[in-house]
Amino acid sequence: MAEQCAVVGIGQTKHRESRRDVSMPGLIRIAALEALEDADMTFKDVDAIVIGTAPDMFEGIMMPELFLADALGAAGKPIFRVHTAGSVGGSTAVVASHLVQAGVHEKVLTVAFEKQSESNAMWALSPAIPFQPQLVAGAGGYFAPLIRSYIRRADAHPDTGCMVAVKDRAHGMLNPHAHLHLDQSLEEVKAAPMLWDPIRYSETCPSSDGAVAMVLVNQQQAKRVKNPAWVKGTSVRTERTFFAGRDQVNPRAGQQCAKDVYDQAGITNPPVEIDCAEIYVPFSWFEPMWLENLGFAEEGLGWKMTMEGKTKLGADMPINMSGGVMCTNPIGASGMLRFAEAARQVRGTADQHQVDGAKVALGHAFGGGSQFFAAWIVSSER
């Protein structure tokens, strides 16, 4: 590649169930302006914009980048729209970083958002597809059988999912941008109603309105800030939804995506060489599942890391320092929020949820039927 890429600006909104106080353009401008200010830039400095959001139907707008172009100062510039299901926020950041790395643009603004209060996401995620039986209600209906399969295969402790919920919500208490601020005990989490066995209500992500933005620049422009986060590796991987013998609990696409970014970043021992990770956990049990898929734990042992408290802030391998998807889930932005939190950590700007001395961090997102993956490694060192 022609250029190195660095994150020099990060912004996000306060995430809430409903941001009735702002329009869609207002929502993305909060995040974009904060990111630009962080990068010591204005809209005029931006060469190109890459925007990501999940299904257009969540907001009832077709190709919202057309209508949002004005709010992002895009007139006369390229604006590009990515959509890769739940992984979209991650894929969007990857596309933006590639524009810089390929030498096409020097300064790229990337934005992801969702205003889920405009519709009902759970039912939007339960489409009746022609010629296919409608089996599921919401994403939980699809993922619960995979979690049951994981518990059986790993002989996992039944409290693991609840432990993740308690931990992520405790992390979210430290993050003023998080949607949910819930101080919950294990007993309270366990007492919540069961939605899709074994997923309790307390083990699901919320449905949020929110936006996140980043400014990505080349090596020359990175001098604008003292603490750029250097992009050391990016990757996307996809596999088909259905075929006989597909392992949806530990998908190969996820493994390969992780291996690809580790190879690019020269990482051979992820739990040792990576200081912290923000990974896409929409239902609590996905933490142990992804710990194994991403190589932080051996297959079948991810749940032990969680139960032993190793994924808490201050422990060996902090996971989802921001509170993660379990506290904040504007779907189209959720992936980029993971990527942005990884960058904040290595820039040392994560405030109360900062991991001391974090130098290398992983951002991760997934989507579809555990089949679309995006990841990046960012580092404080070039």
């Binding site: 949002l68 006369g76 729209r81 990515v82 390929a102 995620l125 991987r237 088909r240």
Partner: protein, 351 residues
């Protein structure tokens, strides 16, 4: 920058109603044909990127099913844009510039037969102020056509002449949906759909799918004798609100054409994505194409317009003429949004 070329193109014939039942049935035939033409399979592809919209099938995440039309196992590097397939080609071009992979598969699919497309396109408008007015795509385009007439830049006869020429060109295109040798006066007798637009000044609604194989450097030369090199490619947008724009011109297409280097040499032919006849006039001016340029030898979008695919087909039609040695330098163009808001322009060259 690395040289990247189009080495193969395949499309399904554009028809009013395709009986392919799902995305996989649209995608599988064109992607496999595009790869077969240059003797490769999905295992040889470094990156795959597609373009489509959920608002044609009317359900979220419809592109997910398209992956089932690919051999996405072992897992592949793949991405998707909620834009015309030509923008997927742009993303693939950027990806190939990295240098670690040499080939990319680009595809798109669109079935306009599944819904009332002109009304659906109202959903591209500002949801707070314009969508409630029910501004369908034909009415919006009619505002633009009338603005051209009012500015003295064109007449209804000019629109008819564009339609006649495109549909005559389409006679040589087996994949076109509407073709024939029509008379200008004949078209001017058609009733208005939305004044001053008559039916023949508007593109048909088509079902289709298309695929392109890109390759970089020596890999392109190995796959085909005469690759269609992407010498320049750029896209630009404009303010969204129709009231903020001079609808009789296209500054975004003009700027994209400048950045892509359209004016740096003689243009043999141009495939312009103009879903309405008058838009071809605006685009010709914006791209600086003189009367000597063969515009839309395929018949263009007025002969076949499968939403999300028509733009990629413009790239394919332009490239196929370069690949066949019928043109040395061709321009391909794609538009998106109401009244040409967003435009993508590329220059393709033989050796």
């Amino acid at each position: 920058m690395r040289n990247v070329a189009i080495v193969s193109f395949a499309q399904l014939p554009s028809v009013r109603v395709s009986h392919a039942t799902d995305e996989a049935e649209l995608v599988q035939p064109v992607t496999s044909q595009a790869m077969k033409q240059v003797g490769i399979t999905q295992d040889d592809i470094g990156f795959t990127c597609s373009g489509s919209t959920d608002y044609l099938p009317g359900r979220p995440f419809s592109f997910v099913a398209a992956v089932d039309g690919l051999k996405a196992w072992p897992p592949i590097r793949e991405s998707h844009v909620e834009m015309d397939g030509a923008f997927a080609l742009y993303e693939a071009w950027v990806r190939l510039l990295h240098g670690d992979i040499d080939t990319a598969l680009v595809f798109s699919f669109g079935k306009c037969s599944l819904g009332p497309v002109p009304d659906v396109l109202n959903l591209q408008n500002d949801p707070y102020y314009v969508q409630p007015l029910g501004l369908d795509s034909i009415s919006a385009a009619a505002l633009q056509a009338q603005a051209l007439i009012d500015a003295g830049k064109a007449t209804e006869r000019d629109f008819a002449e564009v339609a006649v020429r495109n549909r005559k060109n389409a006679l040589g295109n087996p994949n076109a949906q509407i073709k024939g040798d029509f008379g200008v006066d004949e078209l001017l007798e058609e009733p208005y759909l939305s004044s001053p637009l008559r039916k023949s000044f508007c593109s048909p609604l088509s079902d289709s799918a298309a695929a392109i194989v890109l390759a970089a450097g020596d890999a392109a030369k190995k796959l085909t004798k005469r690759p269609a090199w992407i010498r320049g490619i750029d896209h630009r947008t404009e303010p969204h609100s129709l009231g903020q724009r001079d609808l009789t011109s296209s500054p975004s297409a003009k700027l994209a054409a400048e950045k892509a280097g359209v004016g740096k040499g003689k243009v043999d032919l141009a495939e312009l994505h103009a879903p309405f006849a008058h838009q071809e006039l605006i685009l010709r001016e914006a791209l600086g194409l003189g009367d000597d340029v063969n515009v839309n030898p395929s018949g263009g979008a007025l002969a076949a317009n499968s939403l999300m695919t028509a733009g990629l087909i413009r790239f394919g039609e332009a490239a196929s003429r370069v690949l066949a040695g019928k043109a040395d330098r061709a321009v391909a163009h794609t538009t998106n949004g109401v009244c040409l808001q967003h435009n993508l322009v590329a220059v393709l060259e033989g050796e």
